[in-house]
């Protein structure tokens, strides 16, 4: 079975631009969580979606938004990019949103110049 997939693998954006990152969960999983991992630090929780509803949000500005589609895939949008948004963005999927059943994808490396 395929694991969690994320696209694109890498991308480079300019300050002020907008970016959309995509995540496809493991088949049958109904929850997706997003994390930001800045170089040299541990991942930081951004959002969790379960059954297309936002169930949790981390301490991130409103420039960050997400949604989950009927097929349970998810998009993370970041507007008005800042240099500090450069990071590895990780998606994790789970059956029902519990941490003990989460599986992480390979991540999308975003570089803002």
């Amino acid at each position: 079975d395929a694991g969690v997939t994320q696209s694109p693998t890498h991308l480079i954006k300019t300050r002020g631009q907008q970016v959309t990152l995509r995540c496809s969960p493991i088949s049958g999983h109904k929850s997706v969580s997003w994390y930001q991992q800045v170089l040299g630090q541990g991942p930081q929780f951004i959002f969790q979606y379960y059954e297309k509803e936002e169930r949790g949000r981390g301490n991130f500005p409103d420039r960050f938004s997400a949604r989950q589609f009927p097929n349970y895939s998810s998009e993370l949008n970041v507007n008005a990019l800042l240099l500090g948004d450069s990071a590895l963005y990780l998606c994790a999927s789970s059956l029902s949103g519990h941490s003990y059943e989460q599986y992480f994808g390979p991540g999308t490396r975003l570089t803002v110049t």
Partner: protein, 114 residues
């Protein structure tokens, strides 16, 4: 609020030597604790997890961890390190908000000398 501290930012061990990576957590009740490994440019792979019961937890790749409530610790161990174990290791705790949110430590980078 829950927090996780990994006191060692970088550790170097010789291949074949034993390994212990430290993790301390701050949490009122019995926590859900995790250890993940991340190879360069890769996502996170779960090594092991603890919820309750036996305080010594076995994981993949020959790793184990011991939960010590009195010390608020969940240290990761391996009796004999292989060169392929060189990676970054993260300890994490569930924040108990029922959102699946994990709080991660800063990570420990493991270097293995031949």
């Amino acid at each position: 609020a829950q927090s996780v501290t990994q006191p060692d930012i970088h550790i170097t061990v010789s291949e074949g030597a034993s390994l212990e990576l430290r993790c301390n957590y701050s949490y009122g009740a019995t926590p859900y604790l995790f250890w993940y490994v991340q190879s360069p440019g890769q996502g996170l792979q779960l090594l092991l997890k603890y919820f309750s019961g036996d305080t010594l937890v076995q994981g993949i790749k020959g790793f184990e961890a011991e939960f010590k409530r009195s010390q608020s610790s969940f240290n990761l161990r391996k009796p004999s390190v292989h060169w392929s174990d060189a990676a970054e290791y993260f300890c994490a705790v569930d924040d108990s908000s029922n959102t699946g949110k994990l709080i991660f430590g800063q990570g420990t980078t493991l270097q293995v000398k031949p």
